[in-house]
Assembly symmetry: D2
Amino acid sequence: MCRWLAYSGSPVLLDELLFKSENSLVVQSKHSRLGVETTNGDGFGIGWYGAQETPGIYHGTAPAWNDQNLRELAAHASAGRVFAHIRATTGTAVQQTNCHPFRYGRWLWMHNGAISGFPALKRDLTLAVEPALFPDIEGSTDSELFFFLALTFGLQDDPPSAVARAVGFIEETGRRHGIEFPLQMTVATTEGETTWAFRYSSEGRSRSLFHSTDVATLKLQYPDNRVLHELSDDARLVVSEPLGDLRGAWHEVPESSCLVIQAGREELLEFSPILATAPAAVP
Amino acid sequence: MCRWLAYSGSPVLLDELLFKSENSLVVQSKHSRLGVETTNGDGFGIGWYGAQETPGIYHGTAPAWNDQNLRELAAHASAGRVFAHIRATTGTAVQQTNCHPFRYGRWLWMHNGAISGFPALKRDLTLAVEPALFPDIEGSTDSELFFFLALTFGLQDDPPSAVARAVGFIEETGRRHGIEFPLQMTVATTEGETTWAFRYSSEGRSRSLFHSTDVATLKLQYPDNRVLHELSDDARLVVSEPLGDLRGAWHEVPESSCLVIQAGREELLEFSPILATAPAAVP
Amino acid sequence: MCRWLAYSGSPVLLDELLFKSENSLVVQSKHSRLGVETTNGDGFGIGWYGAQETPGIYHGTAPAWNDQNLRELAAHASAGRVFAHIRATTGTAVQQTNCHPFRYGRWLWMHNGAISGFPALKRDLTLAVEPALFPDIEGSTDSELFFFLALTFGLQDDPPSAVARAVGFIEETGRRHGIEFPLQMTVATTEGETTWAFRYSSEGRSRSLFHSTDVATLKLQYPDNRVLHELSDDARLVVSEPLGDLRGAWHEVPESSCLVIQAGREELLEFSPILATAPAAVP
Amino acid sequence: MCRWLAYSGSPVLLDELLFKSENSLVVQSKHSRLGVETTNGDGFGIGWYGAQETPGIYHGTAPAWNDQNLRELAAHASAGRVFAHIRATTGTAVQQTNCHPFRYGRWLWMHNGAISGFPALKRDLTLAVEPALFPDIEGSTDSELFFFLALTFGLQDDPPSAVARAVGFIEETGRRHGIEFPLQMTVATTEGETTWAFRYSSEGRSRSLFHSTDVATLKLQYPDNRVLHELSDDARLVVSEPLGDLRGAWHEVPESSCLVIQAGREELLEFSPILATAPAAVP
C-alpha cells in the first residue's frame, strides 16, 4: 500500500520531513519497514499551505527517490502544514491525477489502504457522488473517490461524521456486492488548520498509524537533538510509520479512532462507520 | 483538436506512415495545416494488429516529435492495420490513459473533436454506460466515454447504427443541458478487418477528413513513386489531413457520412444521429 | 531555438512572470512571435533564489503548457531573482539534465542560440573545460558546455571577460573545423545579485533581446496598471521577446553588447570576443 | 546494481522473457534475490533484432513494473536475439540516454556493475575515446563510456581482446587515481549473431552470472514443460540471476571468464585485462 506523513507546527523546510530523518518518507519509499509492500515506487505527492488561499500540490509519477525536482522543491520550500504521500498502487494507473494528496478547495486528503473489489463497486460509488462535485474527479483511484464521497457526506462541515458516513456507505455497497471486508484505511484530511487522522478497517486489522509526542517533553528528554529544538512546541506529526527510532517519540493511534490535531493539542475520538444513504443516489 | 490516420492494406513499416511522408502525422504534430490548433503536442498513440488476437497499443505523453521510443518502434514494427493519433487536449489531463486509440477487446477507437460542455454532461453520459463495461473506462476524456457509449449501443454488432445512437444520445443530453452544438467529431473504429470512419458535427461544420484514392490508379499515374509501388492495391488511408500534395491522391469524406473500408473496397453511407435511450440510464 | 526571461526586483509570484502576462513565457512556448521556431515544446526550466545559499531549480521535459507541477509551483513560490527558459532543442535529447538554467554553486546560466557544427566541435570544447569542473557537467548540450567554458575562463570573477574569452575560444575552435559562423547567442547569467545579459552572434545577426524600462517612469505613464504598481522601482526584466504590447515598456538590447543589471541600474557594455587559449587544453 | 538477460535462439515473444517466468526480469526489478540492491527501479531497456539492419531499442525511465508500453511491446514483438536490462543507478541521472542496452551500429552493450570513483576518472576515460566515436556518446554513465572504450579498442573486430584492453585501460586509469578496485562488471555484447558475456572484477569478487543449459537435455528432463518445448535446441540465455528454480537449468559463469555463444554452442574463454594505451590519448 502506501506511506504518508502529516505535519503541523512552525514552518519547516520540506527537506527535514522528506529526506533528512533516519527513516524518512523517501527512505521508506524504497525500504518500508512496516508497509504491506516494501517498495512504494508508484508516484508520490506533497501538499503544503503557503501564502495562497488554497494549498499547493506537487505530484510525481517517478519513484520519490529519483525525482530531482522534489529534492529541489524540498530544499527551498518551507511550510507549517504539510501532507506527503508515497504510493504503491493497488491496480490503478500510475499518473499524476492518481497521486495523493487530493485537493478540493482548501481541503487535502490522503489515504493508505484500499477499497476491496473496487472495479465491481466503482460504478455504484461514483453514482453516489454529489452531481455538483462530480466534474472535479480527475483520476481513477478508489482513494480519490473515497474523498469525493466524504465531501458528498459533508466533510467541510463535520469531518469525523462525514468520513463515518462515507465509510458506512462504502461498506454497505461492498457487502451488497458480496465483499466481506470492503475497506482498509488510514486517512488524513485538513483544511489547513486542523488535521483529522483516521485509522480503521472493516476487518479490524488496520494499517499502522503513529503520532508524535508532545515536543516540549521530548526537548527535555533530548537536550542535544538539533531538529527537535528547532520545532515549535505545538509541532505534531502523524505518520504511517515512525521516522526514526527516538524512544518515546511515537505513540500508536489505536484501531477505530480519529485523532484531531489543532494548535498543538491532540484529541482522540472513537471512530465507527455510520450507515448512510447517498444523497445523490437517485438520479 | 487532434489529427489521426487509419491504414489498412499490405503490411507497412510504421515509419512510412508516421515519419516519412511530406506532411506526415509527426510533421502535423508540430505544424498542422488544417487543424484548429497548429500544435498537437499533448500526447499520441498507435494501435496495430500483429500476431496476437488483440491489437497492440503504444501511448506517449511527450510530443510525438520528441519520443525516441516511437521512432524505434516505427522503424521496426510493420502492420497491415494501423491507427495513429496525435492529441491536442481540450482540457483533460495529458496522461497515457487519455491517449487514443482506445481499445476494448479487438476494437480500436480514435476521435478528433470534442463534446461541448463536457464537464457538465459527464455524469449523465457516464451513468449511461453499460454497467458491465464501466470498470474498463481508464481515463477521463470525452473521447473515451464516447467510445464506451458506442460500445453500450452495440458497436461490436453494428458500428454505424451504434455510433448513430451514441451521437443521438450525446446530442440529446447536451441539449437538455442547454448546449446548442454538443458534438464535433471525426471518428475511426475497427475490429482489425473493416474500418469505419465518421465525419459529423451537430452544427454541420465538421473537422476535415480525407481518404486515399484507389492505389492501382495512382500507380499508373505515378510510375516512379517508390512508396506507392510498394503498397498492395487494396491499401487505403483515412486521414484528418492529406499526408502530401500528390495530386489526385485524396478525396474529402463528405459531411455527415460514414466511410466503410474493407478489403480495399470503400462504401460511403449517409450518417445521421438516432435518438436513443441509454439502456443503463435507469440504475 | 529557445525563449527566456530574467527577472530581478522585489519578490513576485512566479505566476505573474510565467503565466499571467499577455505574451507570457508559457504563451510563447506554444506561439512564439519572434523566435526561429514558433513552438518551444522541448522542456523548460526555472531557477530562483529563495532562503538558501544556492538557487532552486525546476526542470521539466513536458511542454511548459502541460506541466501541472509548474502551475502549482508558480502559484505558490515568490522570488526576487528568477530565471526562466523554454527550450526548442537543436538536436540534443529532451531530458532534465539538458534543461536550462544550468547551475554551478550560486551561479545560473541560460542560453538561446546554438554552437554550429556542435557534434564536430564537442570533443575539443570538452577537453578545454577545467578538469576540476569536468565532473559537474551533467547533460549533453552545447549550452551547458558553453557555461562550463565560461566558468573555466573565470565567470565567477569577471563575467563579461570570461564570456568574451569563452566565445573567442568557441569561435576559434569552430573556424579551425571550417565553421563560418560558429556561435549564435543570447545568454543570461547571475550569482543572485547582478544579472549579466549578452547578445552576440558570429555572423552579427543575433537573436532578439529586450529589457524593460525604468519602472518608475512606466508607473507615471500607466497609472492604472495593477501589475506595474506592485513592482518595486528597481524591478527589471530581460527577455527574448516582450511579454506584452505596453508601449514604451521595452528596449531592444543592441547587437554585440552586454547589459549589466544591479539594484535597478542598467549599464550597457560593448561586447566582443577575446581570443583565448583554454587553460586546460594541454592534458 | 542492475540485472540483465541476453537471449539467442528461435524467435520468442518478449513477454516470455520479461514477464512470464517465475523470477522474470520484471519480477527481479522489484525483488531481486541476488542483486546488491533488491530494487532496480531506475529505468530499463530492451534491444532486439528484427527485420532491420540495426537492432531496435526501447528505453524507459519509469520502473519496468509500471511501464504499460513495455507490456504492450512485449506482448506483440518477437525476436531471436534479445537484450534486456533493468537499472539501479550508481549515481548518474535516470534518463533514457542512460538506459542500457547501448547501441552503436549493429552492436548492443549492457553492463551490471560500476567503475569506482567514476567522477574522478571520467575525464581521462572520455579523452581516450576515439575522436570519431566521441560525438555518438549520448548519456553520462560509466557503462556507456566503457562501451565506447571497448569500441575504441576494436570491439567490432575482436570483442574479447577489445574488452580486455578497455578493462586494462580503466584499471590502469583508476589505479593512477588511487582507486584500489576500479571495475566491477558483468557485460554482454552482440552484433546480432554471436553473444559475448563477461564476468570480471578488479577485486575478484564479481557480480553473479549464469547461463542456461543445453535445451535438448532439459527437454528430456522436463517432458511436460511447455515453454522449454517451444524453444529451439540452440536457444540460450545468459542472465544476472536465474529466471526460475528449474533444477539443472542454470550454470554459473566462472569468475574472470568470457562466454561466447553462437548458433547454440557455448565456448568458455579465460578473461584477463590487457594493459593498453588509448590510441586517442594524445590529442
